[in-house]
Amino acid sequence: MARLLIDEEACTGCEACVEECPYGALEMKGDVVTVNEKCTFCGACVDICPVDALTLEKEEKEAPGVDISEYKDVWVFIEHKGGKIANVSLELLGEGRKLADALGCKLSGMLLGNEVESCAQEVITYGADTVYLTESPVLGHYRTDSYATGALNLINKYKPEIVIFGATTQGRDFAGTVATKIYTGLTADCTGLDIDPETKLLRQTRPAFGGNIMATILCKKHRPQMSTVRPKVFPMPGKDDSRKGEIILEPLPIGEDDVRTKILDFVQEAETVNLADAEVIVSGGRGVGGSDNFAIIRELADVLGGAVGASRAAVDAGWIPYEHQVGQTGRTVRPKIYIACGISGSIQHQAGMKTSDIIVAINKDPEAPIFKIATYGVVADLFQAVPMLAREFRKRLAK
């Protein structure tokens, strides 16, 4: 580790460095400054000190971060709620297993929470060798401060080579903070992860510009290599209840008073919108024509056990709440089946759904751009086609 050295003789107690420190890592103890564990060795204090009382140990500063050979193993951040592990975390255990096997190392789960030991066992049954577990009442609900502190504690101690996170609201909030603190690379929304056979680096491939380009990204000199992956990009792995693994406990180094946010309430959506997890999405657009007409979209979604989506046009018209919006300024979804009803399929809408496995377009305009990306297209009036689909599916699925 790098070290910040403080020459207590030279320090005049001017506090310039305390002001300057971006991390709140410097405090006055009597007449001289002291450094706490928040220090990231950024050197801001060194530059500002008028009497050169601060120095960073030099050889450490030259290296951008770390001795990368110290880092090994693949970790998956285990997201959970109400004692249930998020599907995306299980999917990542499946993918993580492949990466660990390619590297010849262990796969571990990083689990933070309160009374979540049953989850730890489950992580092992889905392919992990080890679970690093930090439990505390402070971790009862996800909050950036407490979870990031717990994760940094584990990562700094056990030094994983790779850490992958679900690209959920929580995973993005969390991974962005952890990577910034560590000064390592983070690649968002990867759709492909593999190990370069020669360099052993993690090749992270992701779409950008609404899927118009793909980029492969490496993190060569910093560790861990970190990625987020959206739900359902990787398949759910099988479960092996006989699998044995090790659970390693680490305490959380902070208490409730150190957390700067407080959750006051959680309002569950009246209608389950969870587009991210839905295997089937039925979406309505401008062609639906009004809020009452969304009933037929909902009916089809219900029959198929799917969620209801919408185009921006339908949301802007006030027919359906924003939570349902799919597209560039709404949610990005990747269901197995996406049924677009009365949606013309603007580039912006496509950006949010075009990686769906199967796209069905129902539109009365044969020229609608949606047909260009649809797996199956039906040129028809949605007011006839959608109820008919619902009726027929109900028969087939015996509902």
């Binding site: 530059d47 903070t177 910034t180 959680f266 309002v267 047909f371 260009k372 990306i373 039906v378």
Partner: protein
């Protein structure tokens, strides 16, 4: 109250080009707009100022032409704008971008609230907001769909966050950084007076030296991630249009969908 909105200029079209040499985006020659989510960020900053008093500062990091998005911000009512631009910033990944923006926010000084869009539509990472908050050492509230109250006296803010399955109501200490979703407000249009004012405005540019940045942490050099390959994905070909009467096409469609073995 001192409020900073961070905004980004992004290409308007989906017709992006990649420099084959540097493998980074060619931003010249493509029509540019303010990242749509950042318009909500600017609007939220303005609404907060109108409700609680204070001033709105807007920063953007980018090439010289990114000054245009700052003019738009001035036209809708921002009080101060700053362009963070230096050739040394080229190739910044989210880490280096967050580092640079955070230094600019520190230079503005005494900031109570930082507002960012939840993500930019070009990179789509949603990482810079949390990165800036972490660099500043302040808490972050991401995916905010409503700011319920701000109490500068008590140093407290209460917001609603839009999560996958519902709304979380959270309180945080100030200063804080929030990232906002589209639902939070309706961005205003610029006034004629605003546009005139913006056209005449002298916009300050801050460089590596102005921000006292560590060059080793800027641009390509300071970026932990490196793009090694950029390629165009196989275009998603148009599929099958089911022709004929609906009494034929709908059952056929159902047959095809049942084959996928998703529906049970």
């Amino acid at each position: 109250m001192k409020i900073v909105a961070c905004i980004k200029q992004v290409p308007d079209t989906t017709d992006v080009r990649i420099d084959p040499e540097t493998r980074t985006l060619v931003r010249e020659g493509v029509e540019s707009i303010t990242n749509p989510f950042d318009e909500y960020a600017v609007e939220e900053a303005l609404l907060t100022k109108e409700k609680y008093g204070g001033e709105v500062h807007v920063v953007t990091m980018g090439p010289p032409q990114a000054v245009e998005v700052l003019k738009n911000a001035l036209a809708v009512g921002a009080d101060y704008v700053y362009l963070i631009s230096d050739s040394a910033f080229a190739g910044s990944d989210t880490w280096a971008t967050a580092y640079t923006l955070a230094q600019a926010i520190k230079k503005i000084g005494g900031v109570d609230l930082v507002v960012c869009g939840k993500q930019a539509i070009d990179g789509d990472t949603a990482q810079v907001g949390p990165g800036v908050a972490t660099q500043l050492g302040i808490p972050q509230l991401t995916y905010v769909s409503k700011v319920r109250e701000v109490d500068v006296e008590k140093g407290s803010v209460v917001v609603e966050r839009m999560l996958e399955d519902g709304k979380e109501v959270v309180q945080s200490s100030l200063p804080v950084l929030i990232t906002v979703v589209k639902d939070i407000n309706e961005p205003r249009l610029p006034s004629l007076l605003g546009i005139k004012k913006a056209a005449k405005a002298e916009i300050p540019t801050w460089t590596v030296e102005d921000l006292a940045l560590d060059k080793a942490k800027c641009g390509l050099e300071g970026s932990p991630t490196e793009v090694v390959r950029v390629f165009t994905p196989e275009p998603r070909g148009g599929g099958e249009i089911l022709e004929g009467e609906m009494t034929d096409t709908i059952p056929l469609l159902i047959d095809k969908l049942m084959e996928a073995k998703v529906l049970k």
